[in-house]
C-alpha cells in the first residue's frame, strides 16, 4: 500500500492506494484556520483507519500541497502541479486541461495526450478567486458553505461585484445586502467575478477539452456553472474533486515502489 497526502491551506487530503491502483480509502480533514502538522497527521491516520490497515503497511508516501515540506510527512514531495495532473489523468485519460481552485491558490494545467504536463500557470499571490474568497463571502452572507453552491443557480440577475480584492469584496457584499440585493444574486455575482478572474489565467495556458476542475471549490455547483459559461466548455468533475491531488501523490508513491 502507498499513501498520498495533499496538505493545503484549508484542508488536508489523504488517499491510501493498493498496488493495483485501487483507492482503498480517502479522507478530507479541516481543522482550525490553517492546516498544521497535527491536522495533517490526523487526516492521514483517519485514512489509514478507514482502509483498515496499519501505518507500517504504507510502503511509500508522497506529499504535495503547500504543506508538503511539513516534517514527518512524505518520503518524497512533489508539487500540486504534478500531482493534480497525474490524478486527473488517472481518473480520465481524456482530460487535457485541469482547473484547480484550492483554498489559497488556483492553477491551470495543460496536459499532453500522454499525461505529461505541457504548461501550467498559478495564481498564488491573491486570494480573490480561491476557496478563501468563497469562505469569506459565505460568512459575510451568513450562509453555510455546503449551501452556497447551488443557491447561485437560482439567480436571474447576478449582481455586479467590482472589487477584485477579497477584503474589499466583502465590504461590497455587505453594502449590496444593505441595499436589498438578494443573497442569491450576490452569490451569482461573486461566482461570475471569480470565473472572470480565472479566465485570464486559463487563457495563458489555453483551453483544450476535456476540461476537469479539481480542488474543493469544484464541489461548488455555482462556480462550475459560471466557469463553463466563461470558458465555453463543459467541465468534468471527479467523484471527489478535492482528493485529485492526493490521488496523484499516491500514484507517484506507487511509481517509487513498483
Amino acid at each position: 500500500m502507498v499513501a498520498g497526502i495533499d496538505i493545503g491551506s484549508l484542508t488536508a487530503k489523504a488517499v491510501i492506494m493498493d498496488s493495483a491502483r485501487n483507492i482503498l480509502a480517502s479522507e478530507v480533514a479541516q481543522r482550525g484556520i490553517i492546516v498544521d502538522t497535527e491536522a495533517a497527521r490526523m487526516c492521514m491516520q483517519t485514512a489509514i483507519d478507514k482502509a483498515n490497515i496499519h501505518r507500517d503497511e504504507i510502503a511509500f508516501t508522497v506529499s504535495t500541497g503547500y504543506g508538503r515540506n511539513l516534517s514527518g510527512f512524505g518520503d518524497k514531495n512533489l508539487t500540486e502541479i504534478s500531482c493534480h495532473a497525474k490524478g486527473a489523468y488517472f481518473l480520465d485519460p481524456e482530460v487535457r486541461t485541469i482547473i484547480d481552485i484550492g483554498g489559497q491558490d488556483s492553477k491551470v494545467i495543460a496536459l499532453e495526450s500522454s499525461g505529461i504536463v505541457n504548461n501550467f500557470v498559478m495564481n498564488d499571490k491573491c486570494a480573490a478567486g480561491t476557496g478563501r474568497f468563497i469562505q469569506v463571502i459565505g460568512s459575510a452572507l451568513a450562509l453555510p458553505l455546503e449551501d452556497i453552491g447551488a443557491l447561485a443557480l437560482q439567480s436571474a440577475q447576478p449582481a455586479k461585484v467590482s472589487s477584485t480584492c477579497v477584503v474589499f469584496a466583502e465590504s461590497e457584499v455587505i453594502s449590496l445586502v444593505a441595499n436589498g440585493v438578494s443573497k442569491v444574486d450576490i452569490l451569482a455575482g461573486i461566482y461570475h467575478s471569480i470565473a472572470e478572474r480565472m479566465k485570464g489565467l486559463i487563457k495563458l495556458v489555453g483551453v483544450k477539452p476535456k476540461v476537469m476542475m479539481s480542488g474543493g471549490v469544484a464541489k461548488n455547483k455555482g462556480i462550475v456553472h459560471f466557469m463553463e459559461q466563461v470558458i465555453g466548455e463543459k467541465i468534468y468533475l471527479a467523484p471527489d474533486p478535492q482528493i485529485v491531488g492526493a490521488i496523484g501523490a499516491a500514484l507517484y508513491a506507487l511509481d517509487e515502489v513498483y
Binding site: L78, T79, S114, I116
Partner: protein, 425 residues
C-alpha cells in the same frame, strides 16, 4: 541554522573574482562621497543612461537603478518609507521609489536610523541630473527629482521604434540630443568637452562588452563554470565602473578563473542537473540568496535577457562614432523597442546554443515595461524549443513582492515537468 559558518554547505560555487568587482564598486562610491565633499560635481541619472558621455567629462556619475539595487542589497528600509511618505504607491517602480526616497533622506527631509552609514548605502546628492525617458516611470522620476532637488537637468527623449523605417530617424533624433547634451555638460563643468577621453571610455566599454561576450560563451559549456548570477555580479563593472580602466581588468579576472575551472572540470554549482534561461530582470536585493537557492535545486541559470542591456555587443560600439553608439543602446534595448528589432532578447537560437531545459520568467511586480514583453519572449522561445516555462513574481529591489513559498512551488513544478519529459511520462 549552523552557528559555524564553516559547516554551512554551499551549492553555488561563486566565482571569487566577482568579489573584487564588488570591492571596486564600494571604493567608487567612497570616492564619490570624498569628491562631493571637495566640491566636485556629482551627476545622477536613471534608465539606460548615456553614462559614458558623463564619465568622459570627468564627472562622477551615479546610475540610479544601481543605487537603488545597492540599497536593496544592503537592506536599508528607510528609502522605501520615505517614498511612501511622499505619496508613492508600492505598486510603482521600486527603482524610482528607493531612489527618490534616498534623495529625501539625503536632504534631511525624512528620518532614518543613524546607525546606518549613508556612505555605505547611497551616493551623495547630485548637482545635475540626466533623465533618459526610457519609460513612463523614468520620465516622471527624473522630472520629480529635478523639481525636488532644484538642479539642472538634461533629458534625452527616446521614442519607441516599431519598425526598421523608424530606426534611422530615431537614431538621428537621439544623436542630435546627445550633441546638445555635450554642450550642456560643457556648461556644467565650465570646460570644453574632452572627446579624446570619450573615445577612451568607449574603447574600455567595447573591451568590457567583448568580455561579456566571452562569459556568454563560457555559459554554453557543460557544466557551466559560472552561473548567470556570477555574470550579473559583474554588471557593476559597466553600469557603475563604466569606462574606468580597472573595469576590463576585473572582468578579465572573472574570465581567467572560469577558464581555469573549465580546464579542471569545475562547475558553477555543485551538481548541474537543469539548465535554465532567465527572462526578465533580477532580484537585486537577494542575488546571493537566489544564486544559492537555484544551485541547491541543481539549476544552473545559464543566461538571461537582462544580459542584453547596457552595450552587450562590442561590434555595436564604435569608439570613433561614440554618439551613434550611445544613441543605439536605448533604441535597440528590448524593453523600449519591439521584439523583432531587438532579436537577441527573443533569440531562441541563443537558448538553443545554451541547451536550456526550461525558462523562468521573473515578473518584476513594479515594472509594467518588463512584464509586457517577457510573456511574448517566453512563449516564443518555449514554442520554438519545446521547453516548459514558469512565471514567478518578485521585483527588482522591493522584498514585499517576493514570496518564497510561491517561488519554490513554481520552480519545483517546472523541474518536475522537465523530469517528466525526460522520463517520457
Amino acid at each position: 541554522m549552523s552557528n559555524n559558518p564553516e559547516k554551512v554547505e554551499r551549492y553555488h560555487n561563486r566565482v571569487a573574482a566577482t568579489k573584487a568587482i564588488g570591492e571596486a564598486v564600494e571604493a567608487y562610491y567612497e570616492k564619490c562621497w570624498d569628491d562631493a565633499e571637495k566640491g566636485e560635481l556629482t551627476a545622477w541619472g536613471e534608465g539606460i543612461a548615456y553614462f559614458p558621455l558623463i564619465r568622459a567629462a570627468g564627472v562622477n556619475y551615479i546610475f540610479a537603478d544601481a543605487m537603488s539595487a545597492r540599497m536593496g542589497a544592503k537592506k536599508f528600509p528607510y528609502a522605501k518609507l520615505a517614498a511612501a511618505d511622499f505619496g508613492f504607491l508600492d505598486e510603482s517602480c521600486s527603482y524610482a521609489r528607493f531612489h527618490i526616497g534616498a534623495s529625501r533622506i539625503l536632504k534631511g527631509d525624512f528620518p532614518y536610523d543613524k546607525s546606518f552609514d549613508l556612505r555605505k548605502i547611497m551616493a551623495p546628492l547630485p548637482n545635475v541630473y540626466f533623465n533618459t525617458d526610457c519609460c513612463s516611470a523614468g520620465n516622471t522620476w527624473g522630472d520629480l527629482l529635478q523639481r525636488y532637488l532644484d538642479i539642472p537637468t538634461y533629458t534625452v527623449y527616446t521614442r519607441r521604434v516599431f519598425n526598421r523605417d523608424e530606426w534611422d530617424p530615431e537614431m538621428n533624433h537621439v544623436t542630435e540630443q546627445l550633441k546638445e547634451m555635450v554642450t550642456f555638460i560643457e556648461k556644467m563643468t565650465g570646460k570644453p568637452y574632452n572627446w579624446d577621453k570619450l573615445r577612451e571610455v568607449m574603447l574600455i566599454l567595447q573591451q568590457s562588452a567583448a568580455m561579456r561576450q566571452r562569459m556568454r560563451e563560457l555559459l554554453k559549456i557543460k557544466p557551466a563554470p559560472l552561473t548567470y548570477f556570477d555574470v550579473l555580479s559583474t554588471f557593476s563593472s559597466f553600469t557603475i565602473l563604466h569606462g574606468m580602466p580597472e573595469a576590463p581588468k576585473l572582468l578579465e579576472g572573472v574570465i581567467k578563473e572560469c577558464e581555469d575551472r573549465v580546464a579542471k572540470g569545475i562547475g558553477g554549482i555543485k551538481k548541474e542537473k537543469y539548465r535554465i534561461y532567465w527572462i526578465g530582470a533580477m532580484y537585486w536585493s537577494r542575488l546571493g540568496f537566489m544564486a544559492e537557492k537555484m544551485a541547491k535545486m541543481g539549476i544552473t541559470v545559464v543566461g538571461g535577457t537582462y544580459d542584453y542591456m547596457f552595450y552587450p555587443f562590442p561590434e555595436e560600439i564604435d569608439p570613433d562614432k561614440p554618439l551613434e553608439a550611445l544613441a543605439y543602446a536605448p533604441i535597440s534595448c528590448g524593453y523600449t523597442t519591439d521584439n523583432d528589432l531587438a532579436p537577441e532578447m527573443s533569440d531562441w537560437r541563443i537558448c538553443k546554443d545554451l541547451d536550456i531545459d526550461g525558462i523562468i520568467v521573473w515578473e518584476a511586480h513594479t515594472c509594467r515595461l518588463q512584464s509586457g514583453t517577457n510573456h511574448d519572449r517566453a512563449d516564443y522561445i518555449s514554442s520554438r524549443l519545446g521547453v516548459p516555462v514558469t512565471y514567478v513574481t518578485g521585483d527588482f529591489v522591493d522584498d514585499a513582492f517576493f514570496n518564497e513559498a510561491q517561488f519554490d512551488t513554481r520552480v519545483q513544478g517546472l523541474l518536475e515537468v522537465i523530469d517528466a519529459r525526460r522520463r517520457g511520462k
